[in-house]
């Protein structure tokens, strides 16, 4: 209720109540129509023909391969981008070097460029006709239409998240805690592990979750460089699209649910990790 200091209602009760309820209804309706309903339908349709059918469609060799390939993508891209993200954020915030602004802008490129363009760009550089194409072929390395290219595409599109989450947190905590640790005898690595990292851990955790979500869900860039070879270069997200195109709706929905569960698992484990750290 809107009551001012003198105890009088600052607005007629009916008006504000109606306005508030309308706002609430709009917000909830927006969420329901755009988020809850579609996601709910995916879950519903997955199990429309029973659990057995859903299980069968996610345990086909193709689906299993896509699942493991997705895990590999995430397992490579997320740690690398986390490491890079923390380092880059430290360099951008704490460092004092020329070209900081330019590097900061370059890091944001994946936000600005369409994923399909990212895929094409990688083909231009690493494809058979690309700059390094000949050299790579001579050395027996296939990047494009193969897993290395897909990993590169995944890293590319999910690169800025950790940096962008950690930079503002680093700015906010300032340098005094680190300097205090320094005067207390802590070495640079001790300062990082005991002071800086714990202070930015929420930023890192959130960055990791966003990176993972992006790595799991990337379609455009990975699709272009993968060649979409079933059972070889098909991630779970590509697999969902493939099943959908072939009218295997149960398969598409079930694979989507698996994707959602992986994301959920990551969020929960980040939470658990943090809690364990706090209690130790």
């Amino acid at each position: 209720m809107h009551v001012d200091a003198s105890g009088r209602h600052s607005q007629p009760v009916g008006d504000s109540r109606a306005a508030r309820l309308t706002l609430r209804a709009i917000a909830l309706g927006y969420l329901a129509l755009l988020l809850a309903l579609p996601v709910g339908m995916v879950f519903y349709n997955t199990f429309a023909d029973g659990f057995a059918a859903a299980w069968e469609s996610v345990t086909t060799p193709e689906a299993q391969h896509a699942f493991w390939l997705t895990i590999v993508m995430v397992a490579i891209a997320v740690p690398l981008n986390t490491l890079f993200g923390i380092t880059a954020a430290l360099a951008l915030v704490r460092g004092n070097w020329r070209g900081k602004t330019i590097v900061g802008a370059i890091i944001d490129i994946p936000f600005a460029v369409s994923p399909v363009v990212v895929g094409l760009a990688l083909i231009l550089v690493y494809g058979r006709q690309g700059w390094f194409g000949e050299w790579l072929t001579d050395h027996g390395v296939q990047v494009i239409f193969s897993i290395p290219g897909m990993v590169m595409a995944t890293i590319f599109v999910s690169l800025p998240f950790v940096v962008r989450e950690v930079v503002p947190v680093l700015r906010e905590i300032g340098v005094e805690q680190e300097q205090a640790a320094q005067t207390l005898g802590a070495s640079p690595s001790q300062i990082f592990w005991r002071i800086t990292l714990p202070a930015i851990r929420w930023g890192v955790a959130y960055g990791v979750i966003l990176t993972t979500a992006r790595a799991l869900g990337e379609y455009g860039a990975v699709a272009v460089v993968s060649g979409k070879i079933v059972g070889e270069t098909q991630t779970l997200t590509l697999h969902v699209e493939e099943q959908y195109q072939q009218f295997d709706l149960t398969g598409a929905y079930a694979a989507s649910v698996v994707l959602a569960l992986i994301a959920l698992f990551v969020i929960l484990s980040m939470n658990l990790l943090d809690r364990r750290k706090e209690s130790s």
């Binding site: 005094e176 300097q179 207390l184 005898g185 001790q190 714990p198």
Partner: protein, 324 residues
Amino acid sequence: MAIEVRNVSKAFGDFQALGDVSVVVPDGSLTALLGPSGGGKSTLLRVIAGLETADAGEVLFDGEPVTGVPPQHRDVGFVFQHYAAFKHMTVRDNVAFGLKIRKRPKDEIATRVDELLKLVHLDGFAGRYPAQLSGGQRQRMALARALAVEPKVLLLDEPFGALDAKVRKELRDWLRRLHDEVHVTTVFVTHDQEEALEVAEQIVVINEGRIEQAGSPDELYESPATPFVMGFVGPVSQLGDQYVRPHDIDIHLEPVDGGLQAQIEHVARVGFEARVELHLADGAPVSVLVTRQQAAEQELEAGQIVWLRAHRFHAFAEGELASA
């Protein structure tokens, strides 16, 4: 440990924070670096700690140059204005930090931390996080944390600047007593002359990156070297080219030799004292402090014409008065 600063200069871009500064801090003393903000006193403290590198000159600890020695090996305790509490650690872990870094045995750390928490009156707060403490408590925790590693020097950068007046006064007295107990060489930065005069044994007045004067509070008050120092450590009136403390001016009701004619504007009686505001013939304002009794005897009142003569004054060759 004695500290000697020799000809230290430090610039930040175009801004000269310190220009050829030399200071000696005797072993076991309690020294204040006093001056207006932006005058370079914090920079000097940070140079002593090793948190800033001097462009020129050197710092010596007990006669040994420490240039190039990183802060972690200087054995200094540093207390920041805004506490720099480790927010993700409990009070106990904050205080224990330096000891853990030094890999002292666990039971020794526990005993030492308990002692220190008692010393700073925070026993019972060991399990709290900094966010659950008041500003004064956080600063005492920061002090305990700095003292835990038994530093040879304790450096405090405006330690009470962020606290409200009452807490500031308490902590000031408490720092004084702490120094009597612990006897560690202590240097603190302040822009508050009252704080410096009350707490410090030695005061170094710094302005615009230069040392104006160093000495005991009495020396600074009684024999200021520059008009700036005179104005910064207490109230000043000017009679012609004489700089005078308001209580060193006599009011005469008749013309006297060397006396300047003035007209009273206002007489304010505050407790034991009476503050008389006057202006000289040329319009320059003067403030005089007399006892309440004297004001009554001379029947001082607004509009009256009197003659002023200083029985004690300072004359300086050059320099401007600080607006303290």
